[in-house]
Amino acid sequence: MSPSGSDRQDSSIATPRGDEWSDCLLAIARSADRAAFTRLFRHFAPLIKGFALAGSRLSANHADELVQEVMIKVWQKAAAFDPNKAAASTWIYTIARNCRTDLFRRLQKFDTPLAAEDVAPDGADEEPFEQIQSRRNGQRVRELMAGLPVDQAQILAKVYMEGKSHAEAAAELDLPLGTVKSRVRLALQKLQIQMTA
């Protein structure tokens, strides 16, 4: 967190670069561009399907259903995407996560007035300064992720990708709950996530 370290990154992130996936989303928002949608689909659909199958709680059919549902949401909501706030992949990830949570709940016949999106929206408005900060964090997290020890990366993947609770992760890896919690914390510290408590 040295000032010189963050200064170095300022110029490249203060104005979002026109990256390919953001451009696709903007083209969909502007002109319902189906070619742009197809490009996004070819890149993200396999990731969404991988994410769907990671917890091995969904069948291949449900995974395909999730892919369709997420990609149609992406199409419908493209106008709400703001490249100043988040990378395209972050925005699509939050949509995929929420759709997966809703699908799990539907399959469990969970009767709730709330959609996952009501509980964890895909992005609340923050001050412009915060937006820059959050894009910078995003880039730093991706850089630091490569340096995580295997055991810590493994736990994070269990929690985020497989959707396991800390307790479920502990049972699967045959580790005490405390060990799982401290590995998650250590990993998040290495990724420089600020913790208030």
């Binding site: 709330l114 959050s134 985020y160």
Partner: protein, 217 residues
Amino acid sequence: MPHYHPDIDFLTAHVAGTLPLAQSACVAAHLNYCHECRRTVSGLQEVGAALFERVAPEVVSEQLLDMTLARLDEEPPLHFARQQAAGEKTPAILQRLMNGDFADLVWKKVTRKLAISYLRTGDPGHEFALYHIRAGGRIPLHDHCGDEITLVLQGGFSDADGDYHAGDFLFRRSGEEHAPTALQSEDCICLGVLDAPLRFRGWAHRWMNPFVQLRPG
């Protein structure tokens, strides 16, 4: 600015989508008041996104692409009003669950100073309720068979450990006991999420225990 926050385990589970719905709704309500936790959550979201980018991809058929493309005409892009910035007003998630304001709810009187209103989240394992404590009023000493989250929404209360104000998020583990008292100056409204019923401790209030059943859902 709240002084008591959900810990990083809560925030991580909230972001990963693994926290039980009622608890997650309570974290979401805290975020409405807490700039710092919003920043943490945004960082945790980036962690999720970075993992998502590296997930092992699975083959998706051309047929699925064609089916999806065929559906696009029925699902025209939506236009959005800008989301409102989070602020200190009643959290959006609660406005949604209440279908209105605190005054519109059905409040069940428990004592002269305490009334409870149960809200339906659909979470089968947790009760989600609002507590209205009159200024200076006290909730009888109780402990919990399970875990309790309390989020102060209006006014404030104190117990042996401190004073709590709007936005403060408190987590008590099973077995810890306390007797919260609303501040003298104004009524206090808080949100409580329980996974097991309260147990009143003092002899004067023990008779109430059979009446205090958990109402999840």
